[in-house]
Structure formats: C-alpha cells, structure tokens
C-alpha cells in the first residue's frame, strides 16, 4: 500500500530528534486522531533554516511525511519553506494512499506552525501565515 520511498523514509527517517536551543518549535495534530508532529528549526540571521529535527507519533505515512518534509526545508529560507505544500510532500513520496493524505497536510502544517513560533518570538511577519491558526492545527486536520 505504500511506495518504496515512503517505506524507505519510514525505515530510515531523516532528522529525527530535538534541538534544545531551537529558534522555532511547532506541534500539530492530536492523539485522538492518532498522529502528532513536532518540529524544531534552527534559523540564522539571514532567515535560512540551518537545522531541522522532528518527532512524530503516528502511522508509517505520518513518519515518512515528516521525514521528507524536513529534508525539503533544510537549507531553505523561511520564505521558501512556507511555499511547501502538502501536494509537494505527496509528490516527493511518490504518492500516498487516499486515506493517508491528511499526513501530508499535517507535515505542511507542522512547518507553518514552527515558523509561526519563530515569527512570534522574533516579531516577524509573513503574509503566508496570515490565515494560519496554530490552535486549529492542533485540532482535527482530517
């Protein structure tokens, strides 16, 4: 049911862990739905994401989606990271079963939530985050 890329990322997830002095930390999802993603970003003065770590409670596709999302944004600027959509995550994974698409949505939201936290802490404003509601991202994302 999963592509080889999904299984490869599930088996060898990239960037698992935490960053103690992270510049942004975001968490989305909830245990009721069966998946939670937490991301940690190190962001330098040029707004480049220099390091990314994640932790995920969830199914195979949730773990693979988080893993590939962290790969996609490492080394990118905050602005570039905000452009990454769930479609991009699905595409990079070579597809996801229809019932698992929400995992890719969660990955997109995890990125936004982490940048939102960074923006709050550093008094920054990104128009891509204008409609982003970190509270809603904790709720039902299905």
């Amino acid at each position: 049911m999963y592509t080889e890329i999904v299984m490869e990322h599930f088996t060898n997830p990239r960037n698992v862990g935490e960053i103690k002095d992270a510049d942004g930390v975001g968490q989305v999802g909830n245990p009721k739905c069966g998946d939670i993603m937490k991301m940690y970003f190190k962001i330098d003065e040029n707004e480049v994401i220099t390091d990314v770590k994640f932790k995920t409670f969830g199914c195979g596709s949730a773990i693979a989606s988080s893993s590939i999302a962290t790969e996609l944004i490492k080394g990118k600027t905050v602005k570039e990271a905000l452009q990454i959509s769930n479609k991009k995550v699905v595409e990079e994974l070579g597809g996801l079963p229809a019932v698992k698409i929400h995992c890719s949505v969660l990955a997109e939201q995890a990125i936004k939530s982490t940048i939102y936290d960074y923006a709050q802490k550093n008094n920054k404003h990104y128009e891509e985050l204008e409609d982003f509601d970190p509270e809603a991202a904790q709720e039902d994302h299905h």
């Binding site: 088996t11 245990p31 939670i36 993603m37 409670f57 969830g58 199914c59």
Partner: protein, 395 residues
C-alpha cells in the same frame, strides 16, 4: 535466503491443514456431484455433506440436524439475528447485545433498529471487557426477544460468562444467540451445558477453508430464511451446497477437537510467556482484555506513546505478522470500538498490538517476538513527541 517469517494473526485467519485440503480435493475433482441430484454423483456429495455435519455436531454435543451450513461467520450472525427477529415479532421488539460485538452482530442489530422498528440495549463492558450479569438482568424488559452476546472477543480475547447469560435468557424465555467464531475450535463448547440457542461458527478460523461457516440452531427456535430459493439445508438456507467447503469444515472441526485440552494448555503457556515477557520488560504497556478469562491464543497489549500501524509495519519488516486496533489500520478515523469500550483513551487504543497464536507457532517463534518487539517499540518511542514529554518529566 528466505527471510524469517512468523505468522501470529490466527484470529484473522489460519492456514488450511494438509488433511483438510486433501479431503476437499476429491470433491472438486472426482466427486463433484450436486447433493440434490438423484444419481450416484449426487449421493456421494450428499453423504460427504452429512458426514461433515455429523462431525461438527459431535464437537458441540448437538444433533446433526441442528447444524446449518452458511457462507461464513457474518452470514451466520446476520441470519440468526435478522431471521429470529423477523420470525418472532410477537415476542417483542427489544434486542440486548454488547458494545464490543463483532460488526457482523453490531451492524445487524443497528439495521433492525434503524429500518425495522426494533429497539436495542448495548451493554457496557468493564475494563477487562466483561459484561455485568446484573446489567443484563436489568436491561431485560417484557419486550426483550433476543440476547446476542459474543462468546469470546476477536480483538481482546475476553470470554464472556456464556453459561450464566444463557441461564438468564432461558429463565426469562428469551432466545440467546452467541457469535462463537473465535471460540469454536479454541475452546470446548457444549451447547446444552452452555444454554446456547444459536451459535455462529466459521471454518477458516480453525484451519478450514474460507467462505464456509455454520449456524447451530436449537430445535424449537424459529427463524425466517435469509437466503430464499431451493430446499437445501432442510429448506432453511437455499443455494447449492459448497461441498468442498463443507467437507473441509467438517475435517477441520474434527482435527481441532482432537487433543483439544492439551492444545489449549500449550497455547495458553505460549500466550502467557509472551504476555508476561512484554509486560515485565517493556514499560508503559497495558494488557487489553481479561488476564485469565481469555482465549488461549490471544495477546493484546497497548504500547503507550506509539501508534499501531507503524508498529505493525516495523514488525512486518522482521517478518512478524500481527494486527492492531489503531484507526490507521482500519481506514476509519477512530480506533477500535472494542478498545474504546474498555475505557482506553484514543492514544492508548491507537497503540495496540494483537498477536494471536496457532497450531504452527513454536516456542522459538515466541522467543523471536520477545527479542524483536522491545527494540522496535523503543525505536518508535524515541521518535514520539508524547514519549519525549514523559521522559522529560522524569529527568
């Protein structure tokens, strides 16, 4: 080199035994007659069906004419419940069942409520998955016509007090159906001693073929037909008999009941070794289902902070086949209704793992699971933000 594979999903289905397949083959190749035919081909098939019926009846302490073949457990559940409800409307319109039934029962009762004006009481279960007999007594009204409570639960293995439920039903003159799909072949069942009026069974759970099952019906219990047509099964279930399936079921039933007591002991020993081995060595684990009133082959443990599907995928990579009550494995958004009925939180229910052992599992395989499972759990927990919170709290 063949990768090591350990099948521990016997409650999902079982491999057919060689002897079963052998007996079936002749009824596909050479003795293929229709049992309703007059000629010798027909008679051969008819005799084979009769023999299979005798074999099953014997295992239940029932008479052959009380066994009706169906296409499986779900059909048996549907027939017992709908057939009885429709034929006995004069006795009332209230059905009592439990919250942890198989969907074959649960959705059939829901259908009667929604479409045919019946009412239903869904009994709660305690944290071990047992119904309370007092609750049952209190739920009975003068309109109660049918009680349907499963013998042993397919997910958590808990065995209900069937004899006592049957006695209550008998005393109040209410029919009692039990879904015996998981119990039959795993436990010794005597329909008289257990006060059972109807019981659903399925062949593929006991090394028989898929697509064949049976319903035990006590004489005097009247059911409407579910499948209308020819005069097969004493005019109660139309359709040309699945002769190879029936033959296979009969043989499988016979084999399952040879040395049943010893088998139960051996499976129980392996089950307990596996349960104790995990509960003692892996922290934050919860056994689902009753510790002793439990199918001899059922292991169901929730591993906190991780999700069942990723656990199953990881186990599959080392060749271990199990199942989970996690939503992600069912295609729905909610975890198993059975686990939630025990009072588990969604998170704990999502982290459940069911392993069910069978005739071909060995001690070595149990040891392999005990060796492979803990590091997999640890690896997934290290990835989990929920575990991080707990571990952080401990520092």
């Amino acid at each position: 080199m063949m990768k090591k594979r350990v099948y521990m999903d016997y409650s999902a289905t079982t491999p057919m035994k060689e002897e079963v397949l052998e007996e079936m083959m002749q009824f596909m190749k050479t003795e293929y007659g229709n049992p309703s035919s007059l000629h010798s081909y027909g008679r051969e098939s008819k005799n084979a069906v009769d023999t299979a019926r005798d074999r099953i009846a014997e295992t239940l302490n029932a008479k052959s004419k009380e066994i009706y073949f169906t296409a499986g457990g779900s059909e048996s559940d549907n027939w017992a419940i709908k057939g009885y409800a429709f034929a006995n409307k004069d006795k009332g319109n209230h059905i009592i069942t439990s919250k942890i039934e198989h969907h074959g029962v649960l959705y059939t009762v829901e259908y009667l409520v929604k479409e045919h004006g019946f009412t239903a009481t869904y009994l709660d279960v305690d944290a071990d998955g047992l119904i309370d007999l007092e609750d049952l007594k209190n739920a009975i009204t003068e309109d109660t016509m049918l009680i349907t409570i499963m013998f042993a639960n397919n997910e958590i293995g808990t065995i209900q007090p069937i004899k006592e439920i049957g006695a209550i039903a008998k005393e109040r003159k209410i029919a009692f159906h039990t879904d015996g799909v998981q119990a039959y072949g795993n436990l010794k069942l005597d329909v008289d001693e257990l006060n059972i009026d109807m019981m659903s069974m399925s062949a593929h759970k006991l090394h028989g073929p898929k697509g064949i099952g049976a319903l035990y019906i006590r004489p005097g219990i009247r059911l409407h037909n579910l499948i209308h047509g020819g005069a097969q099964e004493r005019k109660k279930r139309a359709g040309t008999e699945n002769v190879p399936g029936i033959v296979g079921f009969g043989k499988a039933a016979e084999l399952a009941h040879e040395n049943l007591e010893e088998r139960i002991q051996e499976k129980t020993r392996l089950r307990d070794k596996m349960i104790d081995g995990i509960l003692e060595n892996v922290p934050y684990t919860i056994l689902n289902g009753h510790r002793t009133k439990r199918l001899p082959n059922n292991f169901n443990i929730s591993f906190r902070f991780i999700e069942g599907e990723s656990l199953l995928l990881s186990l599959d990579m080392v060749g271990i086949a199990g199942s989970s009550g996690s939503a992600c494995t069912s295609g729905s958004l909610d975890p198993s209704h059975v686990l939630l009925s025990l009072g588990l939180t969604h998170e704990v229910a999502h982290g459940s793992l069911r392993l069910t052992i069978g005739a071909y599992n060995t001690e070595e395989e149990v040891d392999y699971v005990l060796e492979q499972l803990p590091p997999i759990v640890e690896r997934l927990r290290k990835m989990s933000p929920l575990y991080e919170e707990i571990e952080g709290g401990n520092q």
